[in-house]
């Protein structure tokens, strides 16, 4: 059993980490906004942690704070995420549908090129030798686990209060929501910023987890992968991102014995999910439950 965790500890934590990225896309989706900006904030959050963890300027801070340097990195990433999220969110969220998605893709590209040109970010090689919080990869669950629980709690609670209802109102019909007195822009920006902040903190936790950080973490490909977690998992369920990430992250590893052909099977599974479960895994599960209930209830 210990061998299992030694071998798959990294994978288990990666699932939670990627689920957090999925959730960061789920937040704006709650208000009906398709944003791919999360990965840009994830990348920036990672750079904040990587720079604070390795740059000589912060050496006295690290010496003084010890382990508490890590929470401080998260805090800095959080502040950056919120401030930049608001700055990007207000103009970007004036756009709708595909144009918002395009603007956020552009944001990801801008971040990518910007960090490649900042000497402090280490260029294409990136930053390496980031101080470790734990020896074992599995122990990083103490970083990502509580954050995931917190994020899930926020999503769960938010759907029960007025703010969440306002999000859903905007998602279902922005014009009608506006006519009913819902402040649509404020709600869209709030949902967007929540996602940005979550992505930034996840990034700050990921830099020590991965040992290294570089511009390849924040590419367009990565943002599409995160979107896939939500779509495969189910975009209308808060458990969707977790199940989507669990499937997409673990599948290539579970299929590892198949060697080269594993990517083929990986693709087949994804296509099958898209074709047969258009509402995602959670949507499929819900449909199954209704059918079972209908079967048991007879004519009811």
């Amino acid at each position: 059993m210990s061998g299992f965790f030694e071998n798959y500890g990294f994978l288990i934590v990666t699932i939670v980490q990627q689920a957090l990225l999925g959730l960061s896309i789920y937040f704006p989706l709650m208000a009906g906004q398709l944003s791919l900006a999360s990965i840009g904030f994830y990348s920036l959050g990672g750079y904040v942690a990587a720079i604070m963890g390795t740059h000589p300027y912060f050496a006295p801070w690290r010496a003084a704070l010890g382990f508490f340097m890590f929470p401080l990195e998260w805090l800095f990433a959080l502040i950056l995420g919120v401030v930049l999220g608001i700055a990007v969110g207000y103009p970007a969220l004036r756009l709708r549908g595909i144009y918002l998605a395009l603007a956020t893709i552009a944001f990801v590209q801008v971040v990518n090129v910007a960090v490649l040109n900042m000497p402090v970010a280490g260029g294409a090689v990136g930053i390496f030798g980031i101080p470790q919080a734990f020896e074992s990869r599995l122990d990083y669950i103490w970083f990502f686990g509580p954050l995931f629980a917190l994020a899930m709690f926020v999503v769960y609670r938010i759907t029960a209060i007025g703010r969440g209802l306002a999000f859903f109102a905007v998602r279902e019909d922005e014009l009608a929501a506006g006519a009913m007195g819902v402040r649509t822009t404020a709600n869209k920006v709030t949902a967007f910023v929540l996602g940005c902040a979550l992505a930034a903190v996840t990034g700050a936790m990921s830099a020590p987890f991965l040992n290294t950080w570089n511009a390849r973490q924040g590419t367009f490909d990565a943002s599409v992968t995160c979107l896939a977690y939500v779509l495969i998992g189910g975009s209308r369920s808060l458990w969707g991102p977790l199940f989507g990430a669990a499937l997409l992250v673990s599948l290539p590893e579970v299929l590892r014995p198949l060697k080269d052909s594993r990517m083929i099977l990986n693709g087949v599974v994804l296509v099958a999910v898209c074709v047969y479960l258009p509402q995602g895994l959670m949507g499929g599960l819900a449909a199954l439950r209704t059918r079972l209930a209908a079967g048991r209830g007879g004519v009811a």
């Binding site: 061998g3 990294f10 040992n211 390849r216």
Partner: protein, 393 residues
């Protein structure tokens, strides 16, 4: 306590066999390279080279009669994939050493895992600064281009002694190219030439009009390119089409026949800095054996990544043989943890005669390679195929 006892027993049972692992026969050596994703082009070349090494070295008796076997784990192109592959090789496949990963960025993520598990790593293609410094179990056989870069610029000056104004171009999103360009720029300065412009591009770019215009505007008479095959091919093509007539020096990323279909006949006369040249078969019998076997198996000449992968496997095998010779004990009689530490020390002693020439690994893990090569691209009349002709001797 009663409930605790079985749990403790379980933990002990799980822990003890892990400590007392013996080395398996045939001796497993891990290969963790990117066989899928966007690095597969390199990864497949590495797999090909490693497979030839397994076949040739076993045919020659392996480790004093004991065969080696290569265990392949795909890293794909990302950091997480490299970590997963390393975990599998260390814990499940119980290899004596790991050869990989393909990219330097992956090395920064995965090598610390091997360092903690005290498993030696031999990097077959990591060239970024800082890789050997990750830890005492990390080494590489792929040299950073600090020596060959000035040499290739000197070759260009020999061909055209009037060179004064140099334009430097590099792929800023590629780790290898952005390290290499620093070496080139230093070389240009040290040779007393003037750098008139430094232009950046991305490996994904197709249109290089901006960069080419800047080069032409700066009236450069030498262009130095650090990039990968496809983007550099397009860049060369557009430079020539827009009227650049001077010499072109390419970095190690251009040392690939994959560039020929991209720039076609316009590839001609590029000077390329190489860490491996298939043209050395006359002087290097190890390379001759490798190149002949490679051509027989794959119907094409070996690329640098293949030669380096072969070299890595050969270095590990010879280091294992050295341990047997020094201790008088068979490898299979060692405990895995003990052997991994001894192998790490053994790797760093003595020198190796390999397809890429004579090399040794310093105690720091950095490689010392004796020979580098400068070749000129000569395209065939069909404009689609060509070859690298050695100009340095």
């Amino acid at each position: 306590m009663k409930r605790l006892a079985p749990a403790l027993a379980l933990v002990l049972c799980a822990a003890i066999p892990a400590l007392a692992d013996k080395v398996a026969t045939p001796i497993p050596i891990g290969i963790a390279v990117g066989q899928t994703s966007n690095v597969a082009l390199f990864g497949q070349e590495q797999v090909n080279g490693a497979k030839i090494a397994e076949e040739r070295l076993n045919a020659a008796g392996g480790v004093n009669g004991t065969k080696i076997t290569l265990v392949f784990q795909d890293t794909a192109g990302d950091e997480a994939g490299a970590v997963n592959a390393f975990q599998n090789l260390i814990n499940r496949d119980k290899v004596v050493a790991i050869i990989g990963p393909t990219l330097s960025q992956q090395a920064f993520a995965a090598n610390p895992i091997a360092e903690r598990a005290k498993t030696p790593v031999v990097g077959p293609s990591n060239t970024a600064k800082g890789v050997p410094e990750i830890g005492e179990f990390i080494g590489r056989i792929s040299a950073p281009m600090t020596q060959v870069a000035p040499y290739s610029v000197k070759q260009a000056m020999k061909l055209n002694p009037d060179i004064k104004r140099v334009a430097v171009l590099y792929a800023q999103n590629d780790a290898f190219s952005s390290s290499e360009t620093v070496t080139f720029q230093d070389a240009v300065k040290n040779l007393g030439l003037e750098t008139v412009t430094v232009q950046k591009f991305q490996t994904t770019d197709n249109d290089f009009t901006t960069q080419v215009t800047a080069v032409l505007g700066a009236k450069a008479d030498l262009v130095i390119i650090s990039g990968l095959a496809a983007d550099s091919g397009n860049l060369v093509k557009q430079l020539r089409q827009l009227g650049y007539k001077g010499l072109i020096v390419g970095g190690n990323g251009l040392n690939s026949p994959n560039m020929f279909p991209v720039c076609g006949a316009l590839c001609s006369d590029i000077l390329v800095a190489q860490a491996y040249s298939p043209a050395t078969v006359d002087k290097n019998p190890v390379n001759k054996d490798f190149a002949t076997a490679f051509e027989a198996a794959y119907k094409k000449g070996p690329a640098q990544f293949s030669a380096q992968a072969y070299t890595a496997v050969q270095v590990v095998t010879e280091a294992l043989a050295k341990i047997e010779k020094e201790t008088g004990k068979k490898i299979a009689d060692f405990e895995l943890a003990e052997l991994r530490e001894m192998l790490n020390k053994s790797l760093r002693t003595g020198s190796y005669m390999t397809p890429i020439g004579e090399i040794s690994i310093q105690p720091s893990g950095e490689v010392e390679q004796k020979d580098f090569y400068v070749s000129k691209i000569v395209m065939n009349p069909d404009g689609k195929t060509g070859s690298f002709v050695l100009v340095s001797e």
